[in-house]
C-alpha cells in the first residue's frame, strides 16, 4: 500500500537525522516552505482545522476518484507537519485514505516536540483528512 511506503520513507528520512531535534526542526521548516501558500480565498473558516494551537487550513480537489490537498499554517513547524500528512495522503482515493493507518508520527518521535497538547492537533489533522475522504466518497 503506497500510503505505508510513503510513511516508511518519512521514517527513514527522520532516522537519518539521528534524533537531533534542531535538525529535525530545520527539516520540517524546509518541508513546510515547500508547500504552496494558500490564497486568501482558501484561508477561510471552513478550511480551518479545529483543535490545533496554531492556525491550520486544509483545502482539496477531487478528480478521477483521487484527492489532491492544499494546506497552510501560520507557524512554520506545523506547516512542515502538515506537508508530511499531505505527502502521505495526496493523490490517493478516498477509500485508501479511510483504510490507512498513520504510524509515522509515533515512529519518528515527531510527537516529542509537537507537544502533548499538540498531539491532539495532529489527531485533528488526521481526522480532517479522513472526513474529507469520507465526504468525497459519499458525494462522488
Amino acid at each position: 500500500m503506497i500510503i505505508d511506503q510513503i510513511q516508511e520513507e518519512i521514517i527513514d528520512n527522520f532516522n537519518m537525522l539521528d534524533d537531533d531535534i534542531e535538525m529535525s526542526l530545520n527539516y520540517l521548516m524546509e518541508l513546510g516552505e515547500g508547500l504552496e501558500p494558500l490564497g486568501d480565498e482558501l484561508r477561510i473558516d471552513d478550511n480551518i482545522i479545529k483543535g490545533c494551537q496554531s492556525k491550520v487550513w486544509l483545502s482539496h480537489t477531487f478528480e478521477d476518484n483521487k484527492l489532491i490537498f492544499f494546506g497552510d499554517s501560520n507557524t512554520a513547524i506545523t506547516k512542515g507537519l502538515l506537508s508530511l500528512l499531505i505527502s502521505v495522503f495526496n493523490n490517493r482515493t478516498p477509500k485508501e485514505i479511510l483504510e490507512s493507518k498513520l504510524f509515522f508520527i509515533n515512529e519518528t518521535g515527531l510527537c516529542r516536540f509537537i507537544g502533548t497538547q499538540r498531539s491532539n492537533g495532529l489527531e485533528a489533522m488526521e481526522n480532517k483528512f479522513k472526513i474529507i475522504a469520507l465526504n468525497s466518497l459519499k458525494n462522488g
Partner: protein
C-alpha cells in the same frame, strides 16, 4: 494466614521505622491519613529535581514531560475506578473539594426551591456542611437516613424518605467512624429509580477495596489521595460525562477557559472546565505511584489480608469487658471506634501515644453521629495494609494495662 508480603510492604514505608518515646511507632490512624511508600516520596523529589514545570500550553520539554506525567495520572485514575473516559476525572484538593464542587455547581443548574437532598446520620462533616450551605442559599431541604444500633444505614427508612422532590442523594461508601461498608450499589439503584442523582463519598473506600464506578452506576464519586498512600493536597472527583458537561464551572481562572474576553468568555472542555488555576502538579504526579502501588499488590489481596487482621483485632477487642464498640456491622473494614467506661478517650489516646501507638480520639468529624449515639467522642483505631498481628497484640496488651490504671 495469607501469604501477603507484609514484611516487604513495611520496608516500603520509611516512616514505619520511627521511634516514639523509644517504642516502635504503631500507626493506627489510617482513616485520618495513610503513610506513603518510598515510590511516592521519590516521585515527588524526582519531579522537582528533574522536570518541574507548569503544564499545558508549554513548548519546552520540561513542560511536555510534566504535562505528560500529569495527564498519565488521570489515565491511571480512570482505570483504577473504571471510569469511561478521562473527561470524567477531575483533579481536586481532596474529597471535600469534590463534594463542594458538586454541591455548588450541580445545584445551580438542576435544583430548585423545595427540592430534597438525602444524606445520612453517619456522614462526615465534609458530606454534610456543603449541602447545608447550598440548601440554605437555595431553599432546599435536607433529609437524613437513620443509622441503626449496629451502625448500619436503615434502608427502610431511606426508602421512606424518597419522594418526587428527592433530587440528590449523597452517601458515604465506608464510614470513617464506624467502618461500615454501606450497600452503595443498592442505594444508587433505588435512588436512580426514584429520579435522584447519587454522589458516593469514597474517601475511606479506595485504599481498602476494589471500587468500580460503572458497577456502582453512581453519578459522582469522590476520594482523596492522602487516604490511599498518596500525597496530601490531591483528590479526584469522578462524574458521569453527560452530567459534568451540563454543569457550570465552579472556579474561574487559567486552564478552565477556551476564550476570554470582557464581552464573552467560553469555557474549556472536560475535564479542564473544572480545573481552574495551576493544579497541584507535583502531588498529582506522585499520586500515580500510590495507585500503582495498590494495583501491584492487588486490591483483592489487600482486602483479604486486611480482613484477617481486622477479624483478629475485633476478636481481641471484644474480649475486653470494659470496651464498648461503636459500629458492629458485619460488613465493615478495620476501623474500630470504642470507649471505655470511666476512662476518657482523650486520656487513653495520650497513654497509648506514650507507648508509640497512634490512634485518633474525638468526634472524627461526625458530630451528628456522636450526638445520635449520645457520645461526645470515641477512641478510634483504623488499620491499613501495613499493619500486623504483632502490632494489634501489642496494642491490646497496652490497652488492657492502661485501662486498669
Amino acid at each position: 494466614m495469607s501469604n501477603f508480603p507484609i514484611s516487604e510492604i513495611r520496608k516500603d514505608f520509611p516512616i514505619l521505622e520511627t521511634k516514639i518515646n523509644k517504642n516502635d511507632l504503631v500507626y493506627f490512624d489510617n482513616a485520618a491519613t495513610t503513610q506513603k511508600p518510598q515510590s511516592v516520596i521519590d516521585s515527588l523529589s524526582n519531579y522537582y529535581k528533574s522536570f518541574n514545570s507548569n503544564i499545558h500550553r508549554g513548548v519546552h520539554q520540561l513542560a511536555e514531560k510534566a504535562t505528560e506525567e500529569f495527564e498519565s495520572t488521570r489515565e491511571t485514575a480512570k482505570s483504577f475506578i473504571n471510569a469511561s473516559s478521562t473527561n470524567e476525572i477531575i483533579f481536586t484538593r481532596g474529597a471535600t473539594e469534590g463534594i463542594n464542587l458538586v454541591a455548588a455547581s450541580y445545584c445551580k443548574n438542576f435544583l430548585k426551591k423545595g427540592d430534597e437532598i438525602i444524606i445520612s446520620e453517619m456522614e462526615h462533616h465534609s458530606n454534610i456542611v456543603p449541602w447545608q450551605m447550598v440548601a440554605k442559599e437555595n431553599d432546599l431541604v435536607i433529609k437524613t437516613i437513620k443509622v441503626t444500633g449496629k451502625g448500619e444505614l436503615d434502608m427502610e427508612h431511606f426508602k421512606s424518605l424518597l419522594n418526587e422532590n428527592t433530587k440528590f442523594v449523597s452517601i458515604v461508601y465506608i464510614s470513617n467512624t464506624l467502618g461500615t461498608i454501606n450497600p452503595v450499589k443498592e442505594l444508587v439503584n433505588i435512588s436512580n429509580n426514584a429520579g435522584a442523582k447519587v454522589l458516593v463519598d469514597a474517601a475511606q473506600a479506595t485504599s481498602h477495596k476494589n471500587v468500580d464506578v460503572k458497577d456502582l452506576n453512581c453519578d459522582f464519586f469522590v476520594f482523596s489521595a492522602h487516604k490511599m498512600y498518596g500525597p496530601t493536597g490531591v483528590g479526584i472527583l469522578y462524574g458521569k460525562e453527560k452530567i459534568l458537561e451540563k454543569m457550570p464551572p465552579y472556579m474561574g481562572g487559567g486552564e478552565m477557559i477556551k476564550d476570554v474576553s470582557f464581552e464573552d468568555t467560553t469555557y474549556n472542555t472536560l475535564p479542564y472546565k473544572f480545573e481552574a488555576g495551576t493544579p497541584n502538579i507535583g502531588d498529582v504526579i506522585g499520586f500515580k505511584k500510590a495507585i500503582e502501588y495498590l494495583n501491584d499488590l492487588g486490591r483483592q489481596n489487600i482486602y483479604k489480608y486486611e480482613k484477617e487482621i481486622r477479624d483478629h483485632a475485633w476478636k481481641e477487642l471484644k474480649k475486653i469487658d470494659r470496651i464498648k464498640l461503636v459500629g458492629t456491622s458485619d460488613s465493615k473494614i478495620g476501623i474500630f471506634s470504642f470507649y471505655v467506661e470511666g476512662f476518657h478517650y482523650y486520656d487513653l489516646g495520650l497513654f497509648l501515644d506514650a507507648k508509640g501507638i497512634a490512634i485518633r480520639t474525638g468526634h472524627h468529624c461526625t458530630q451528628p453521629l456522636m450526638d445520635k449515639m449520645n457520645l461526645d467522642g470515641t477512641a478510634r483505631v483504623s488499620l491499613a495494609m501495613y499493619n500486623t498481628y504483632e502490632e494489634i497484640n501489642y496494642f491490646i496488651d497496652e490497652l488492657k494495662k492502661i485501662i486498669s490504671k
